[in-house]
């Protein structure tokens, strides 16, 4: 059965690899494998072992190849692992290529009829009669394809010594009380399990063993995490136009709002409007922000492009709105379901004229939650559109996290004058820098005071919001907006900085690269390269950046785009240090992995 079956049990025992491997399931999208993969992942998680799952899927509803990778790691490394240790090759279209790309000694679980053992002899083949087993599991022909997915859960589970009690719990959870479905799926798992028990002589080293490292943790994707943040931030108007990978943010937000934001009579403290396009979505969000609610929209790159004009108006007319950009690769055909960090430039300077925006950069699901809240405070405090840039990897993949803490800070609704305050002041100038921080006071439509009203328009306005084309008025406006932006440096989330004593090398990164960087730093340490680490959490930069760059000889800016967008922004900020800055750039549409970073840095440092 297996090509390496001659190895002695003892040798195998010594070389056992416990709680440190990856499982790569190759299927066809639309085949219903998602539930099986979730069950597999959750069962491992329930055994107390750190785990992460990534869905690498096509922009298609059914029929194209899909891969799901599960990383099991006792050290808590949750970035993508490039090397595949266990392949479950269920997709005949890609099976040959999938098996060819395996490292020697890896495991290949495949349908027996694919005869993959003929392709590679240096991997452990376990060839399973899936069709036969599915026929035994059910006599309903149309269910067999679905159940095949659960059968591989049984086979793999038996192989890696999974606790099947946990599998049953995970199945019950997945099928949410639907007893018939639960029973059927458990039957299928058992079919695979029993077959494996009887027919497989284990020759590979991979296994799981119970740990206690996931107790009290949650599993969630970044979009759901951001949605929860929005609910607790008090968002009231949500506008959106469907686009992967941001749609699930709006959809889970609507679900949470329905559940947690209705009064005792069932009336909503929110409005969700699915717009006709992104131009309308941002327009509605700005209209609502102008009228005084916490408003937001969610989108991805192409939507950001469409929002460009309105965001410029928001910047000049000083109107709050939060824009979630769950980044993906470029235009809409080809790679829209692949991840990237390539909207940094466009979000930072979106629109016409001199514009620059506050951009938050969550690096974990927990930060998707906390930065959603921070974004609403910032947008109202600074009266300007605020971006939250996550990406497909954080947004749509499953991550382990500590439970999110309840917010301790009150909502910051910014400088809004009500009728009473206006009457006491006796005068009001909408765009006047009263406090010297560049942030003016605003009033909301509906404020019952004869001096509350002002006229909102683009660039041509003076302090009193009157129409003007005077050169000095425009210059003053531009300078005040700059001052306001400088004030924001003190309010945005601070970077996370880890200084290693004697480190000559500093790494700078943001967003979803974080888990890969953490793992890479450990790999580099083994090779005697110590590194400090600066994880950027927001634009504008804070003073910490200069200090960090100054105090290291060489800086590697690691990012998931081609044009070194963050490095370019740092160069603009600190031109005198331009020559210190090197790039590690990952842009193939897959989430960045630690080995890639380590190899790139080792190549330079050798």
């Amino acid at each position: 059965m297996t090509s390496l079956a001659t190895e002695s049990e003892k040798a195998l025992d010594k070389s056992r690899i416990v709680n440190d491997f990856s499982i790569h399931v190759a299927t066809i999208n639309g085949s219903g494998s998602q539930s099986s993969n979730n069950v597999l992942m959750r069962s491992i998680f329930q055994m107390g072992i750190p785990v992460s799952g990534k869905n690498l899927f096509p922009s298609n509803i059914a029929g194209l190849p899909t891969w799901f990778t599960i990383r099991v790691n006792k050290n808590g490394y949750i970035a993508r692992k490039k090397e595949v240790d266990i392949l479950v090759a269920m997709n005949p279209q890609t099976a040959f290529e999938d098996v060819k790309s395996l490292p020697a000694g890896a495991v290949c679980v495949s349908p027996v009829e694919l005869k993959l053992d003929a392709v590679r002899s240096d991997v452990h083949h376990y060839q399973v009669p899936f069709t036969e087993l599915a026929a035994q599991a059910t006599d309903q022909i149309k269910l067999r394809k679905l159940l095949t997915n659960m059968i591989y859960v049984g086979v793999v589970g038996e192989l890696i010594n999974l606790d099947f009690k946990e599998v049953e719990i995970a199945i019950a959870r997945q099928f949410d009380g639907k007893q018939k479905a639960i029973d059927l799926n458990i039957t299928a798992v058992n079919k695979g399990r029993e077959w494996a028990k009887e027919n497989i002589k284990k020759a590979d080293p991979y296994a799981v063993e119970r740990l206690n490292l996931t107790k009290g943790k949650i599993i969630i994707d970044g979009n759901a995490a951001a949605a929860i943040g929005c609910v607790f931030a008090g968002v009231s108007v949500v506008t959106w136009y469907p686009i992967t990978p941001s749609s699930s943010l709006a959809e889970s937000l609507e679900e949470y709002l329905e559940q947690y934001r209705k009064d005792k009579d069932g009336k909503a403290t929110f409005a969700v409007i699915q717009a006709e396009d992104e131009l309308a979505a941002i327009g509605m969000a700005l209209g609502a922000g102008w009228a005084g609610t916490r408003s937001m929209t969610t989108t991805s790159g192409p939507g950001i492009s469409l929002m460009s004009e309105f965001v410029g108006l928001g910047y000049f007319a000083e109107i709050p709105a939060v824009i979630f950009d769950v980044q993906r690769v470029g235009p809409s055909t080809g790679m829209p379901t692949r991840t990237a960090q390539a909207d940094l430039f466009s979000a930072y300077q979106l629109s016409h004229g001199d514009t620059k925006h506050i951009v938050l950069l969550p690096g974990s699901v927990e930060e998707c939650y906390s930065m959603a809240m921070a974004a609403f405070d910032l947008t109202e405090r600074f009266q300007t559109p605020v971006f939250v840039l996550s990406d497909l990897d954080i947004g749509m993949n499953n991550w382990m996290s500590d439970p999110f803490p309840y917010p301790t800070k009150d909502l910051d609704r910014g400088k809004v004058l009500n009728a009473e305050q206006l009457n006491k002041l006796g005068e009001f100038a909408r765009y006047k820098d009263v406090d010297g921080d560049g942030i003016p006071y605003r009033t909301l439509p509906g404020t019952n005071s004869p001096i509350a009203a002002y006229f909102t328009r683009g660039s041509g306005h003076n302090e009193k919001a009157q129409y003007t084309e005077r050169p000095d008025d425009y210059e003053n406006l531009m300078n005040r907006l700059n001052k306001k932006y400088d004030t924001a440096r003190k309010y945005v989330p601070k970077p996370e900085i880890t200084i290693e004593k004697d480190a000559k090398i500093g790494l700078i990164a943001f967003g979803s690269s974080d888990p890969a960087i953490l793992e890479s730093r450990d790999q580099l340490k083994v090779a005697n390269i110590t590194t400090s680490y600066f994880r950027l959490k927001a634009l504008p930069f804070t003073d910490d950046l200069r200090k960090f760059v100054e105090s290291h000889d060489r800086i590697y800016v690691v990012e998931q785009n081609r044009d070194a967008q963050l490095r370019e922004l740092i160069t603009m900020e600190l031109p005198e240090y331009a020559t210190k800055l090197k790039s590690v750039l990952h842009y193939d549409g897959l989430p960045i992995d630690a080995r890639f970073i380590t190899d790139a840095i080792m190549a330079e440092e050798r």
Partner: protein, 347 residues
């Protein structure tokens, strides 16, 4: 008409404001521009209806027409948005504060060209607001290019002939299910002010397509949207009277000669028959009347269609009684138990 009983126009209205209180800053449009004539009627309607200025929000896109909200109701908040996208601003503002009376001004370029998509979706959602299109058949602000409402065969000032068919915004609004569709003329102040008041009483999107000649670029002999042509060809469907909810109906009409439409807020519109029978609550008749008028190159004005029973966006959103914009942290942020419940479900 309403004020006909009073001997002299009162110096103040029901809430003690003068007509001057409803004015804005001085207009910077060309002398004689139709848009200024419409501004005057907006001021008059708001004054006579005694709108509370702070409860009104003025909205517009970009164009000469879209500048006009600066020229009326200076005590109301205003928003001069981007070209063709005022409807989305209006939708957001309406969702945020359902107590606001939204008064929007757009142009034919702003609405029928760049803004056609947002116009359609606004009407479809039935956002409660008054939406005035100051229609001159050209882009005034960019110096006279044809817009999408320019009639076939009309000539530009430079002699160029328009060969594309016009978009009829009233016909389109009807098609999209609009509950208040009217057409008027900047040179017919009496009809216009009555239609404006009626529109302000409507619960839902009220579309007013007002022919508003551009004296600088589209008022020449060969233009179909000049003052002269409009005056010569205007065919009012009926004489419109508006009786606000706070006044009694003093009916002295001949039976059968009028149609009385009761509005959402208790006001009445009384339509006095002119040449033909016309029932503005009949959508099919409205459609055929519009198509026929276009075919016969007639400039038909008046209340083309009204349906007071349509559900507006506000009702569809099922929000709490207070405006969303007035909610505070206690109402907006769920308690600790809610977060605990969510977290437990994810473990």
């Amino acid at each position: 008409m309403v004020e006909s009983t009073a001997a002299k126009a009162p110096a103040t209205n029901r809430i003690g404001l003068t007509q001057a209180d409803y004015k804005g800053s001085p207009s910077t449009l060309c002398d004689g521009c139709g848009h200024d004539a419409i501004t005057s009627q907006i001021i008059k309607a708001a004054y006579e209806l005694a709108l509370e200025p702070h409860k009104v929000a003025k909205l517009s896109g970009i164009g000469c027409s879209s500048k006009t909200p600066a020229y009326f109701l200076s005590r109301s908040h205003g928003f001069n948005a981007v070209h063709g996208r005022m409807p989305s601003i209006a939708t957001g503002a309406s969702a945020a504060n359902k107590e606001l009376t939204l008064m929007a001004v757009s142009g034919d370029g702003d609405t029928a060209s760049i803004g056609l998509g947002q116009f359609c979706h606004l009407v479809r959602r039935n956002v409660p607001m008054v939406y005035i299109v100051e229609n001159n058949g050209v882009y005034g602000l960019t110096k006279g290019q044809f817009s999408a409402t320019a009639d076939i065969g009309t000539k530009s000032k430079g002699g160029e002939v328009n060969e594309f068919p016009p978009i009829d915004l009233c016909g389109l609004a009807l098609e999209l299910g609009c509950g208040f569709v009217a057409r008027s003329f900047a040179g017919d102040p009496k009809q216009l002010v009555a239609l404006l008041k009626s529109a302000l009483s409507h619960n839902g999107t009220a579309i007013l397509d007002v022919i508003s000649p551009c004296v600088t670029f589209n008022n020449h002999e060969s233009s179909t949207k000049s003052y002269k042509r409009a005056k010569e060809t205007e065919m009012p469907l009926h004489e419109i009277g508006y009786i606000p909810f706070y006044e009694q109906i003093a009916a002295d009409y001949e039976p059968g000669s009028t149609i009385d439409v009761k509005m959402h807020d208790g006001s009445h519109i009384v339509l006095k028959k002119l040449h033909q029978d016309y029932d503005p609550t009949d959508r099919f008749q409205a459609m055929t009347t519009i198509y026929k008028a276009n075919q016969d190159k007639q400039f038909l004005t008046g209340l083309l269609y009204i349906d007071e029973k349509k559900t507006s966006l506000t009702e569809m959103l099922h929000t709490v009684d207070k405006p969303l914009a007035s909610l505070t942290q206690t109402e907006l942020r769920p308690g600790k138990e809610a977060l605990n419940e969510i977290m437990t479900s994810l473990m």
